[in-house]
């Protein structure tokens, strides 16, 4: 029998998970019937289409947005494109350029040509898959060789807007003990329906996520990993309108962690839910293949919803996200589920409640490295107070044995971190991790006490909520504003025009290869 420091009723947990599983099944079912412009672009990238036009628009966008691209969307572009490559004898990128220029036409082959084209598509994607496999094993080797230090892994962000500046900041952070470096993306990159190309130096509140930037940072961190004798993980975003492509790039460029959550896009970026849930399915297959950790976005919910009333929505969403992810072939150890409670640090017994929630999420997901976060909403310009608030959460993280701890920054309310803000946050995180090393092992929570009571109540509410969502479906729940107090509707939001129901003859060999690699039964 499982033991619980909270005296949890694991039958309730099982019931909640069963409901979440049904919800996930129906979402996945929905997604598997559709494709999107971004899914197809990701597919083409996997097949080796590289580079951008003079305006910086990537050739995969040009292909997909070409008139035939649009026409063929519902059928899948990989096979017609592979067919065009085979026909022209050019390589993938050249073919893409030709398609974009209108000098080559794509069409869905049939009969024997179809089977040839499928094989050609698989051939074209072979390099990318090799690359992904190499990156996976490199990660494994580095981790085996260097290790990655104590847990919770200390996770910090860099967000200068300039990838070269980010590199400097990341190196300094690594030296100060950072174990995960997240490069924050330029504001609203979620809304861009293309991925910029090349190294970039001008972002707002973050640095554009581009393949070149991924690579620059990965190289730098590999160097620093050797210097520090510790493998340092790199994090970025597979989120927004380019979610599938980002996820593929992440797998190819050896990102170790990626923020990846359709619900975030729906709720906070007003991306259409059909679009992004469909994208998410493909993105998570790529994540499973790439072997990186995904971070889900539940930590954002209570910035808009009331923390005192909606903790259970975070846990419910975590369960749904878990079930969706498992169905995409992700392993539990790849699920960095989002957790941030946003409780007012001045409220009575807040710390007890925080610990209760942090322990609850650990016990409900014993195999997953929760992305544990302090509240950001209660940070103010009072950096000294903020530093202490964050310290409380450093303590809670150690007490509840978290796997990944996104460190708060004392200047959080005001600016993205200066070089020393991060240093000081890491210092506090490392000190408390050391000073309270075995505190979690040491203490027990009294029966009938506040901590156990609070956890039980939230679990109870989670069960009820999931049961309701199971009945009404996730889409309706979102329309009712269940999560984050935000209402979104089936047919509103950005990106809907990029969604198509898969035609009967839809084919996507790359997706099949991903599914295979992810250990998921392909279509």
């Amino acid at each position: 029998m499982k033991t619980s420091k909270l005296g949890l009723d694991f039958e309730k947990v099982d019931a909640a998970r069963a409901a979440a599983s049904e919800i996930a099944a129906s979402v996945m079912d929905f997604a598997a019937k559709r494709t999107t412009t971004s899914v197809e672009r990701a597919t083409l990238r996997m097949m080796g289409v590289e580079g951008a036009d003079a305006e910086g628009v990537h050739w995969v966008n040009r292909v997909v947005d070409s008139p035939t691209g649009r026409d063929l969307l519902a059928h899948g572009l990989s096979v017609p494109f592979a067919d065009a490559v085979a026909r022209t004898g050019m390589d993938a990128s050249e073919t893409a350029r030709a398609v974009a220029a209108g000098s080559v036409e794509m069409a869905m082959p049939s009969g024997e040509a179809l089977e040839h084209a499928v094989a050609a598509a698989e051939d074209l994607a072979a390099d990318s898959f090799r690359r992904i496999r190499t990156q996976r094993s490199r990660r494994q080797e580095s981790l085996a060789e260097l290790g990655e230090g104590e847990r919770p892994l200390l996770y910090v962000i860099v967000a200068t807007g300039n990838i070269f500046e980010d590199v400097d900041q990341a190196r300094v952070a690594a030296k100060a003990g950072a174990q995960v470096i997240a490069v924050i993306r330029s504001t609203a990159q979620s809304l861009l329906d293309y991925i910029p190309e090349g190294p970039t130096t001008e972002g707002f509140g973050g640095t554009f996520a581009t393949q070149a930037n991924f690579r620059i940072m990965r190289d730098a961190l590999d160097e620093v990993s050797r210097e520090e004798g510790r493998y340092i993980r790199l994090c970025n975003y597979a989120s927004g309108l380019c979610m599938p492509e980002m996820s593929c790039l992440g797998a190819m460029e050896r990102l170790d962690v990626m923020l990846n959550d359709a619900l975030y896009g729906i709720l906070f970026r007003n991306i259409n839910m059909q679009r992004t849930l469909t994208d998410q399915r493909f993105a998570r297959l790529a994540a499973a293949a790439g072997g990186f950790i995904i971070n889900t976005g539940e930590d954002n919910y209570l910035t808009t919803a009331d923390a005192a009333k909606s903790e259970h929505t975070v846990l419910a969403s975590d369960l749904i996200n878990e079930q969706i992810a498992l169905r995409c072939g992700l392993q539990p150890e790849q699920l960095g589920l989002g957790h941030a409670m946003q409780m007012n640090p001045w409220s009575e017994d807040m710390f007890l409640k925080e610990v209760a929630m942090a322990q609850l999420v650990r016990e409900v997901f014993p195999g997953c490295p929760i992305k544990y976060m302090p509240p950001t909403k209660y940070m103010t310009g009072n950096i000294f107070r903020g530093h202490v608030q964050d310290a409380l959460f450093n303590m809670a993280a150690v007490m509840t044995d978290q796997g990944i701890h996104l460190l708060g920054m004392m200047t959080e309310a005001m600016h993205t971190p200066h070089i020393h803000d991060r240093y000081l946050a890491l210092e506090s995180g490392a000190m408390i991790r050391q000073a309270a090393r075995h505190l979690g092992d040491e203490i027990e929570f009294k029966e009938g006490g506040i901590v156990r009571g609070y956890a039980a109540e939230v679990l109870e509410n989670t069960c009820a909520l999931l049961e309701q969502i199971r009945r009404e479906g996730l889409f309706d729940a979102i329309s009712r504003g269940v999560f984050a107090d935000v209402r979104r509707h089936m047919d509103s939001g950005r990106g809907l025009d990029g969604v198509a129901l898969r035609a009967d003859d839809y084919r996507n060999p790359v997706e099949s290869m991903l599914s295979l690699m992810a250990g998921v039964k392909g279509e």
């Binding site: 190196r171 300094v172 030296k175 970026r269 007003n270 005001m414 020393h420």
Partner: protein, 260 residues
């Protein structure tokens, strides 16, 4: 919202309002704490550079409390020193929003007395800014910090367009709705993107020829009334604003304008 002037307040003993200095534990000691990083490797010269920076800032006896080798050519310092500058407090004049703070009922009463129609307000968080919490705090039914939002006031008719609204879309709505006031929220301020967003809206409103019929109000954590005025807005509200401040201001300002 600390809107009352404190210029005639009582000062601690030993204070000369024409020569104000920072204070640590002895009147006029000038004590100031500062911290910064330098892009030079840690060492005696870096330490001296830090001291000189503080000296150039006008700090007497700058004292390095702490230094850290951040590595990779960067160093971090915590410095204390005694500020030699003084400020003539008595000469400071700060533009303030000219209004009396009223409560929900008071405002409703005032509105009923002065207007025979509902006042139309449209709000949005513009550009690529997705931070809705601030504008919602002002507009939402449920309100903020114990004060109802504008939607709850029967005498206001409101539209909250949410976040990521382009200035074009917002302007179109202002015109269509014949808004009396627009509320713009800006939270992301990196590279001063908020300033250019706000200034652009003013230009567009003017170009459209509706500026004089529109009360333009902005707000956000880094917005002050002064900044708002500089940008061509009528008022600006910063951190801690409550809905009744905004409602009260709109009410009083519209009446004032009608009179003049």
């Amino acid at each position: 919202m600390n809107m009352e002037s404190t210029k005639n307040a009582v000062f601690p003993k030993g204070v000369d309002p024409t020569r104000i200095k920072p204070y640590g534990d002895t009147m006029n000691d000038g004590q100031v704490q500062l911290s910064f990083s330098l892009p030079v490797p840690m060492g005696p010269e870096a330490r001296e550079a830090a001291r000189r920076i503080a000296g150039r800032m006008g700090l007497k006896e700058p004292s390095i409390y702490h230094e850290t080798d951040l590595g990779h050519g960067f160093s971090y310092f915590i410095v204390y020193g005694k500020c030699t500058h003084t400020i003539d407090f008595s000469a400071i004049v700060v533009p303030k929003i000219d209004m009396e703070v009223m409560g929900f009922h008071e405002i409703e009463h005032f509105m009923e007395k002065h207007f025979d129609r509902r006042i139309r307000v449209v709000g949005a968080c513009t550009g690529s800014d997705a931070h809705t919490v601030g504008i919602d705090a002002i507009m939402d039914m449920k309100g903020y910090n114990g004060e109802y939002g504008l939607e709850r006031y029967p005498t206001f008719e409101t539209i909250n367009m949410g976040s990521q609204v382009s200035n074009e879309t917002l302007l179109a709505r202002i015109v269509e709705f014949k808004a009396d006031a627009v509320l713009v929220s800006q939270v992301v301020t990196q590279k001063d993107v908020h300033l250019s967003n706000l200034a652009e809206l003013v230009d567009m409103v003017e170009a459209q020829g509706v500026r004089q019929d529109l009360l333009m109000i902005c707000g956000g954590p880094r917005i002050s009334h002064e900044v708002a005025l500089e940008l061509g807005f009528d008022a600006g509200f910063g951190p801690g604003t409550k809905p009744n401040h905004v409602a009260g201001y709109i009410a009083q300002e519209l009446v004032r304008r009608r009179r003049s």
